[in-house]
């Protein structure tokens, strides 16, 4: 009942014309920010902060949150059409989204991404509203050993991301882990693998590697096939552009999977939406009847990660709003914004400012609808990009990649890194190494190492801390199961042969 009246109050706040306008502005800006590679929600929100000082805090948070979840919608666009991840979280969407576009289903992929985002985004808001306080306690029960187990689970997904050769996938993952280890060590302040370069003190930005390996590698590879065949087929007519019934049916489980996984991982401070999208993609593949088709353009390979990265938004708001603990870069800046507006983020914020909390929740329902309406009609427009000949398209991808990377750090050094990783991506394509495991290792390596060392510092070097806690032990068992899946499959195939 309390929730019901709260929500009514929230809609009363969020449905005022002014707040609908701010919600729309936020969603619109977010979509654009999502489409531009490199420029992400944290930087955008920080830059817009000074403009919100004069605003009512509720309107301001409605707009800034719109940028946050709006960017998640927009991020898939360039992943699908150009193989350029628009946000770090949409890197997984490249795997099947871009292949769908190459198979002439680019419009459908965009549609599925929008629908998955809508379903999971709405799910995230509902959960945020219903179970925020108890879930925040669950997040606190998570300590370093649990994070380590979670990261192990994520890393085990490599066996599901591997193409033909497991050895090549593992090698690519090791390179990713190595890159993740570069930079200043948090625990000892020593620099590792910086080769005396001050620019490497913070390690290598994930965006640089992802754009280099995926986008530039793809362009370089395709330039060799000079016949102009790379022009992507575009179906005519709106009906053929949107996802069809079979494709939507294939995604049924993915919508649910993405929503739940994204939300749960979102609650945990320090895990993040990229991890969420990798794990939900892995789960989708593990339970699929045709796992071998993943990576060739299956719709559920788009729906799961896109759903996960949108549900993550609702999850990340849980510790932020209920405990005042930011779980991601974006929520950290939102928290800083609360302080600037004179609000006091912390365990009492919801109680003290019910109109802000419920107004925000209600605005997120509205925002998700706005984004769906905003995104679906844009599909035919975006799909036009695919009609461009490669002589036009490739320089565009090149330009977007360079500008995107430069906008993150304003650093020329990062552009030379981008070139290096473009060449690496090209070589990997030529030698048939999968790129996703490299990205996976890079995303997880840092957090995993940190969690392991924190755990061991807590236990004074005793490894049993990793298995003596029920949550972490449970996740490690799951990890072992995931690792066993391909072995089972092999054994099964072998048995089948033997029976024949």
């Amino acid at each position: 009942m309390e929730i019901f009246s709260g929500l009514l109050q929230g809609f009363a706040v969020a449905l005022t014309p002014v707040n609908i306008m701010w919600c729309f502005i936020g969603c619109f800006l977010g979509t654009i920010v999502g489409i531009l590679p490199g420029l992400g929600p944290p930087a955008t929100i920080a830059m817009l902060l000074p403009l919100t000082f004069q605003m009512n805090p509720t309107s301001a948070v409605i707009m800034l949150a719109g940028i946050y979840y709006g960017a998640k919608y927009g991020g898939s666009t360039t992943s699908i059409l150009l193989n350029v991840p628009g946000e770090s979280a949409s890197v997984v969407t490249c795997l099947d989204g871009y292949q769908m576009a190459r198979n002439g289903r680019g419009g459908a992929a965009l549609g599925i991404a929008a629908i998955a985002s809508f379903i999971a985004g709405t799910f995230g808001v509902i959960m945020l509203m219903l179970v925020a306080p108890p879930l925040a306690k669950f997040a606190l029960a998570f300590s370093s050993p649990e994070y380590f187990a979670l990261m192990c689970m994520g890393l085990a997904m490599v066996v599901l991301l591997a193409g033909k050769s497991m050895v090549k996938a593992l090698l690519a993952m090791l390179v990713g882990l190595w890159i993740a280890g570069m930079g200043t060590d948090l625990f000892t302040a020593e620099s590792r693998f910086t080769f005396g370069q001050a620019e490497l003190l913070d390690g290598i930005d994930f965006v640089v590697v992802a754009i280099g390996v995926f986008a530039l590698g793809e362009v370089l590879g395709n330039m060799e096939t000079r016949e102009g065949v790379a022009m992507l087929p575009v179906p005519k007519g709106l009906r053929n552009l949107l996802p069809n019934v079979e494709e939507l049916k294939a995604c049924r489980f993915a919508f649910l999977n993405g929503s739940v996984v994204g939300f749960i991982i979102g609650i945990l401070p320090g895990a993040g939406s990229t991890v969420a999208s990798f794990i939900s993609y892995g789960i989708e593949k593990a339970v699929s009847k045709h796992p071998e088709k993943f990576g060739t353009g299956v719709p559920e390979g788009v729906a799961a990660p896109e759903g996960a990265n949108n549900a993550e938004t609702g999850g990340a708001m849980v510790p932020m709003l209920t405990l005042g603990i930011p779980g991601s870069g974006t929520t950290a800046i939102l928290l800083a914004a609360f302080i600037l507006w004179g609000l006091k983020p912390g365990p009492l914020m919801i109680q003290d400012n019910p109109e802000l909390f419920w107004g925000l929740v209600a605005s997120m329902y509205i925002g998700n609808v706005i984004l769906l309406i905003l995104n679906i009609p844009l599909i035919p427009l975006f799909a036009q990009i695919l009609k461009l000949s490669q002589y036009v398209l490739y320089p565009i991808i090149f330009g977007i990649s360079v500008v995107g990377v430069y906008s993150v750090s304003d650093s020329l050094f990062d552009l030379s890194l981008l070139t290096f990783f473009g060449l690496l991506g090209y070589c990997m394509r030529k030698l048939d190494y999968p790129q996703a495991p490299l990205i996976l290792g890079l995303v997880l390596g840092d957090a995993m190492e940190r969690a392991l060392r924190q755990s061991l510092m807590m236990s004074q070097g005793d490894l049993s801390i990793l298995v003596s806690r029920p949550l972490s032990a449970g996740m490690l068992v799951l990890t072992a199961l995931v690792l066993a899946v391909p072995m089972f499959r092999k054994a099964n195939a072998w048995r089948m042969k033997a029976i024949d």
């Binding site: 944290p42 000074p50 370093s144 003190l201 950290a332 430069y406 510092m457 004074q460």
Partner: protein, 326 residues
């Protein structure tokens, strides 16, 4: 990127329209001021820089606009080397923080120290608080230290990197009392607090503002405050020496620094300018809102202070087993 330029442009137009005059003293800024910070948007120094440029704009203290530039990386080292390349420049100034002192000590890659640049003024000192969970058995700092004595190495503290105040205060306390407890680094403030609230560590050093809300709702308890004298907002909490542990007060500082070889008249101008900023009511309100303290020091005072402060950090970090490069 496009948006960034657009926003910068509109802010610029706004500021230019409002800008008033400032008393001329030999040097006078004629171009927009580049106000450099080492944190990304939303970080500590970034927020401070934006607050300053807001005050300057509202009070019309400068005829040109102040443009905040973020040069992130290496905990300040990127920003420092960028500033050091602007030799003799008068229109670029930066905000420094503790990491500008400690970072170069611990990093082989650093090429300049704060002394190689031109320190101008110190603006802020930030007190800290030592906190435990509200249901913790420790009612005083002495309770915690006594327990740490009983079980050396078993208790834990969550904190930031090894060069942060959290660890330096721990080192000073351990040395003073001959105790040992573990220090577990977390990259984000949120994770540090989650580790404390989740009961995974026993103690933590925080900004008073960070602790404020948890105190109000009763989830945390303050054992002692790290400050020269008790903060107005915490009249009943003892400082660390008052709690019985006579360790030097390690400050968190923020101030303004210019590039190497900044002409003397420009240094004078900026010193006078920030002295004026520090006297405004808006600045005093900003300090009070953030539970900062007015730590204003003139150029001459700051230059002396930097030497003492660097030496203090060097000794403590060396004791902590950190590799010191200079």
């Amino acid at each position: 990127m496009v948006k960034r330029i657009l926003i910068a442009g509109s802010v610029a137009a706004l500021v230019a329209a409002n800008a008033g005059e400032v008393a001329a003293q030999g040097f006078k800024p004629t171009r927009p001021i580049e106000f450099l910070v080492h944190t990304g948007p939303g970080g500590g120094n970034d927020l401070l820089a934006r607050a300053i440029s807001n005050i300057v704009e509202k009070e019309k203290l400068l005829p040109v606009r102040m443009q905040v530039t973020n040069k992130t990386g290496g905990g300040g080292i990127t920003a420092m080397s960028y500033l050091s390349e602007k030799k003799g420049e008068t229109h670029t100034i930066a905000l420094f923080a503790n990491t500008w002192v400690n970072g170069p000590l611990m990093s082989k890659e650093a090429k300049v120290t704060l002394k190689d640049l031109t320190p101008i003024v110190r603006l802020v000192t930030e007190p800290g608080v030592i906190v435990v969970k509200a249901d913790s058995p420790y009612k005083s700092l002495k309770d915690f230290i006594d327990d740490a004595k009983k079980q050396p190495g078993q208790l834990k503290q969550s904190g930031g990197s090894i060069g942060s105040r959290d660890n330096i205060v721990r080192q000073l306390l351990m040395k003073n009392t001959g105790t040992q407890w573990a220090y577990i680094s977390f990259p984000g403030g949120g994770e540090r607090r989650a580790a404390l609230l989740g009961g995974h560590v026993q103690i933590m050093v925080m900004d008073p503002q960070e602790a404020g809300e948890h105190l109000r709702n009763g989830s945390l308890r303050i054992l002692a405050q790290i400050a020269e004298k008790r903060m107005a907002s915490l009249p009943d909490v003892p400082t660390v020496p008052e709690a019985g542990f006579n360790i030097p007060n390690y400050l968190v500082i923020r101030g303004v620094v210019g590039p190497p070889d900044m002409p003397a008249e420009a240094v004078k101008f900026w010193e006078a300018f920030f002295a004026k900023v520090a006297k405004t009511a808006a600045w005093k309100k900003y300090l009070a809102d953030n539970l900062f303290e007015d730590g204003f020091q003139t150029t001459a005072e700051l230059v002396k202070f930097v030497d003492v402060f660097t030496e203090q950090a060097r000794t403590v970090l060396k004791d902590a087993g950190v590799k010191i490069y200079r």
